[in-house]
């Protein structure tokens, strides 16, 4: 896996630029990852990111939009406003957790 520098830290990423090491993540890294995809993080963004990280740690997998909405308390509609076009992919990218399973 390639290692790159984000917000002054060495970070392991996959070929799509998704972080692969949960513990390498920091809030500064998240801010930079978000700005890479044109997003400035506000309060609700952070709520989503924190839910994603906690839920991933507990469940061992990245929650789908439905779970972020039902359990994390941010509606799907809002998620599309916060992370336009591809919320599932974008929010996991910023939160440093794997892309949710593209269930075949």
């Amino acid at each position: 896996m390639p290692v790159t520098t984000i917000a002054g830290a060495d970070v392991t990423v996959d070929e799509e630029g998704f972080m692969t090491e949960y513990d390498e993540w920091s809030e500064d890294i998240a801010t930079e990852l978000a700005s890479n995809i044109g997003i400035e993080l506000g309060e609700t963004h952070w709520q989503v990111i924190k839910f994603l990280r906690e839920d991933y740690k507990e469940q061992g997998e990245t929650p789908m939009l439905r779970r972020v909405s039902n359990v994390g308390g941010v509606s799907t509609k809002e998620l599309f406003q916060l992370f336009p076009k591809k919320p599932a992919k974008k929010m996991s990218y910023v939160a440093g957790v794997p892309k949710p399973h593209g269930c075949v």
Binding site: Q59, M64, L65, R66, R67, N70, V71, T76, K77, L79, F80, Q81, P84, K85, K86, K89, H101, G102, C103, V104
Partner: protein
């Protein structure tokens, strides 16, 4: 006397009862199968029904026929599972205690999850084809439809048989061409996925097939509601797609009792270990087939491979030994592409569908990710195999775990 309780006498439940009965001593083990419907449908056949390919009678058989001697079948509705006391409650008040429980009640299209579906225009201008009633109603609609814009929409993944919506548009293209009205039918495929399919190699092949057939693709479309007054789909990010005839694949959810019993995820699918199907919460509960929350296709082929692995593991588990077999998520699906041809894909948790030959490397007779007549005949033949070999748990001449032999690695740029 110990009791193994199997909920659901569909593909997975029937197979597992057939496999386990000869292995569990009848003096020691009672096996009870619970289901609420008498009829077993050959679900892969639903796809062909709207295009006049099958009639209802050809796709149904009594479930009882596939229940082996020595297995008790109860026709009843399940109310609740109480994992703490190892009891299943039926809606008629009966309580069924169990030592081991296998949940195999599948997943079901749930139109009520989406505003606009299952309401006033249901089976008038909006149809599903994953139910026998929906598929039949659509066949009737197609008989007199004069053309316009046909939209096929997947609302949310996962769905069972995830290639069927693509097969549906391929078959629709061929069907309307044959009727000499393809020029008055526009076909659009609207999906929440980033492309025609999830995995890159197959998505490229299948995307090209959509292009060849002049079927337009609207991707990353996450449906919020269907506006049945103005005949349009509205996404969460406020994109709109108009239709004259909508064929929807509603949100798929597990049985309601799973939700009530606290055993499911948001979609009422049961979280299990993806290698051995043991519930992540309870050491004597397993979930098999579509009912399980697994990162692979919800399909009969997966259930079949999974049950092979499960049987050996279950014998280990009840004797207190560690479960030695590990399921790899193996799935294979024929993809009907219209005009007498079909494709085949074979894949697992880690390996995406790749081109090649199957099951014999270099020989076939089936070709992976390629349209051939042999694949089409394989798909049709499978109905016989399903009723006569698969459900009764007889041995199939293909291994349960996926093999790389015969597959060709390919990079997509």
């Amino acid at each position: 006397m110990k009791r193994l309780l199997v909920l659901g006498a569909g593909t997975a439940g029937t197979m597992v009862a057939n496999k386990l009965r000869p292995l569990l001593d009848e003096r020691e083990w009672k096996i009870t199968l619970v289901d609420q419907n008498e009829t077993h449908y050959y679900q892969p056949g639903f796809l062909f029904l709207p295009f006049g390919g099958y009639k209802r009678e050809e796709l149904e058989k009594p479930k009882r026929r596939f229940v082996p001697a020595g297995v008790e079948l109860m026709m009843a509705e399940i109310d609740l599972v109480e994992p703490e006391s190892n009891v299943v409650k039926l809606t008629d008040g009966t309580e069924l205690p169990y030592d081991y429980l296998i949940i195999a009640t599948g997943t079901h299209p749930t139109p009520a999850e989406t505003p606009g579906l299952g309401e006033d225009k249901w089976y008038e201008s909006i149809f599903d084809f994953y139910t026998i009633d929906g598929a039949e109603a659509l066949a009737e609609k197609f008989e007199t439809w004069e053309g316009g814009k046909l939209v096929v929409n997947i609302i949310e993944m996962p769905i069972k048989c995830p290639v069927a919506p693509l097969e549906f548009v391929f078959l629709a293209d061929a069907f309307f061409a044959e009727r000499g009205m393809r020029d008055v039918v526009k076909i659009e495929y609207v999906t929440p996925l980033p492309g025609a399919f999830t995995k890159p190699v197959a998505a490229k092949y299948l995307g090209d097939m959509l292009d060849d057939r002049k079927i337009s693709l609207e991707s990353d479309f996450f449906l919020e509601r269907v506006d049945t007054d103005d005949n349009k789909l509205v996404s969460y990010d406020e994109r709109e797609v108009e239709y004259d005839l909508l064929v929807t694949i509603p949100v798929n959810m597990g049985a309601e009792y799973i939700g009530r019993s606290g055993l499911g995820d948001e979609l009422r699918h049961v979280p299990v270990d993806k290698g051995n199907f043991l519930s992540t919460k309870h050491d004597n509960i397993f979930a098999l087939g579509d009912a399980a929350a697994l990162p692979t296709s919800k399909a009969g082929s997966v259930a079949h491979f999974a049950v092979d692995i499960f049987t050996e593991n279950f014998m280990d588990h009840i004797h207190g030994r560690p479960m030695r077999e590990e399921f790899d998520g193996h799935a294979n699906c024929f993809i009907e592409s219209g005009r007498g041809k079909g494709m085949l894909i074979d894949f697992n948790y880690d390996t995406e569908p790749l081109p090649g030959k199957y099951p014999l490397p270099g020989v076939g007779p089936f070709s992976l990710l390629q349209e051939t007549e042999a694949n089409h005949w394989g798909k049709l033949m499978f109905k016989w195999v399903y009723w006569n070999v698969l459900l009764e748990g007889r041995a199939m001449p293909i291994p349960a775990l996926m093999s790389m032999a015969g597959k060709i690695r390919e990079e997509v740029r």
